[in-house]
Amino acid sequence: MAFLDNSGDIILDAVLTDTGRLRLAKGDGSFNITKFALGDDEINYELYDKNHPSGSAYYDVEILQSPVLEAFTNNTSVLKSKLLSVSRTNLLYLPEIRNNATDGIAQNSSNNIVSVAVDQSTVDALKDSSGNLLAGIIDSAELDRNTTDKKRLLFDQGIVSNALGATGKVALDADLVETQYIVEIDNRLGFLADPTTGAQATPSFIDDDNIASYYLSLTTNSTYFSIAPLQSSAVLSGPAGYRLSLLVGGSTNLNSSTYLFTQLGSTSQITPIASAVDLYHIDTTIRVTGATTGFRVDIPIRFLKQQ
């Protein structure tokens, strides 16, 4: 996409997204715009110079000169960072969403990425000398075997700094506590599952690019959330909200066929004990976005299948 001409008056370049066109074509009334959000994808706030020698008028000179790209029509490629409405103006800290790889599943040491073994033969091939699946790999053959936090993806919400007080000692402001998440994953490759039972979740929507969106709410999907706001977290130091736990399973396509692996993936090896195991793999990303605060985190995931 080209940059927009910013030499004159401010203009607005508007397009329907591919999902918008899809819904319009359906003609079933699903094309119904009811709300809006504002975004600042192109802005790098690190350019805000609070110590500019020429004064406050120059703090954001570089930001205001940022060129803006034309609108993408891919609905998942824009509005990655949204502006946030909080009626108070005296906030100095905002809570973030962090992947907790210390208390939850960490990267597999062999390939430096959280992985998902998509079938039983892959699970069996990737066991260590004690007969346990290697660390950093989710058992997708039977998801209910992932019984501990160390086998789940964990996302903690809260303030990283302890400037407002320590985690568990000071509560996060109620209006900043995230109680709804949107989790997006490529529906051809995988699905989301309940961290306690391993039951496959139902996506709220699958868009034209096969990106499945799962809406998880504290009130209706409580098994995905910690019982109460966190009292401690390895990735937070300040006031905290809830912890979101997730399991990711491999799709039936990945489980039963190598087609997508040969189309989209590559091959690699992992050596669990003595001899290397030849694997197909596909790398993808899971996006976790706070529906209330808009903060998000992208987690790279690798699906593995024994050759």
Partner: protein, 356 residues
């Protein structure tokens, strides 16, 4: 409660209808000359020929209009089947008349009426050329009182391009006709002051110009006269000094007739019309809204970068407006050409227009 979405109320959404016009100038050299007829597509059925804006075998060529010719089965020219393509010329006339003029109470196809007063009877145009413009040019319709077709009426044996006459729908903005099943149409005259008699019709929504063959009646007068008795048309055909319209219409095929009028096109000008239906969304950001950001660079160890103390105003910069469905799917997106500063001292209304 923190939020990233704002619901649009009934007061934030409105619908408008706008008519856009663009000028379409077609120089005659496109129809004959510039591309040595490589932009003219003919067909084995011989019912019409197509004019492109570039050699038509090129993928960048656009179809701009078709030319054909026909006469009614009541025309003096249709007396014998020995005339070349006699039935095809009648078929063309009948097809176009059925679409543009319609049928009478008995189900018979009505003829093109010279002054458009079909119910009142009167003179008919029984020998006509049709210029069918592509939708690419006419869009939704041709703008009334904008159509001008300049034809050379010089002698084939002498200066072909001499004696141009300009046919136009002069005054049609306020005097167009609505008794056609194909929509509105205007009458073509040879000059704005000419009220003698129309020499054709322009169908605005259908994008079809119907030109009476009487414009080629001769060199002494370019105006239409009643076609009774023998047809006095002369000097139309290419390369045939004696090829009067009458001889061509009976002794030549439609393609040669189309070539003949194509060679005489000096200019065609009109304005097209696009009917733009728009929905306008007024995205209002009040002073206490959208002042913070979820941008990954907005925080440093959870502290807001644009603030030193709690008393500093938060600041954010808008580059994008997203329009969402109730289930949070992004249906439309708009980008500002430059970042717009938002803080508690400002309120903004961003007007996003979606055209359909």
């Amino acid at each position: 409660m923190a939020t990233t979405f704002k619901t649009l109320t009934a007061n934030d959404v409105t619908n408008t209808r706008t008519l856009l016009h663009e000028a379409i100038p077609l120089t005659g050299t496109i129809a004959s000359g510039t591309y040595s007829d490589e932009n003219i597509k003919t067909f084995s059925h011989g019912m019409f020929e197509s004019v492109f804006d570039y050699p038509y075998l090129s993928s960048s060529a656009n179809h701009i209009f078709d030319i054909t010719h026909g006469y009614s089965n009541t025309s003096n020219l249709s007396g014998t089947t020995a005339h070349i393509q006699n039935s095809k010329k009648i078929n063309v006339y009948n097809q176009m008349a059925a679409v543009l003029v319609g049928h009478d109470a008995t189900g018979s196809i009505q003829l093109f009426d010279k002054d458009g007063d079909i119910a009142g009877g009167g003179a008919k145009m029984e020998e006509v050329f049709f210029l069918n413009f592509s939708r690419l040019l006419t869009k939704d319709e041709i703008k009334k009182d904008s159509f001008r077709l300049t034809l050379a009426t010089g002698s084939q044996a002498g200066n072909l391009k001499a004696m141009p006459i300009t046919l136009g729908d002069y005054g049609a903005a306020s005097s167009y006709l609505v008794n056609s099943p194909a929509g509105e149409y205007g009458l073509l005259y040879t000059a704005s002051a000419d009220t003698l008699s129309p020499v054709g019709q322009i169908y605005y929504q259908a994008g079809v110009a119907v030109v009476s063959a009487s414009v080629f009646m001769g060199t002494t007068s370019m105006k239409h006269v009643a076609e009774t008795g023998s047809l006095p048309y002369s000097d139309l055909g290419p390369g045939e000094a004696s090829a009067s319209y009458q001889n061509l219409a009976t002794g030549s095929n439609i393609q040669l007739l189309a070539d003949s009028i194509r060679d005489r096109i000096v200019d065609i000008n009109f304005n097209n019309t696009v009917e733009l239906n728009s929905t306008i969304y007024f995205c209002r950001a009040n002073n206490n809204e959208f002042n913070y950001s979820a941008n990954p660079t907005y925080l440093s160890s959870s502290q807001i970068r644009v603030k030193n103390t709690t008393s500093d105003n938060p600041v954010s910069y808008i580059t994008t407006v997203g329009l969402y469905s109730s289930d949070n799917e992004l249906l439309a997106v708009a980008k500002l050409s430059e970042p717009l500063k938002k803080d508690p001292n400002t309120e903004l209304t961003i007007r996003v227009r979606l055209d359909y």
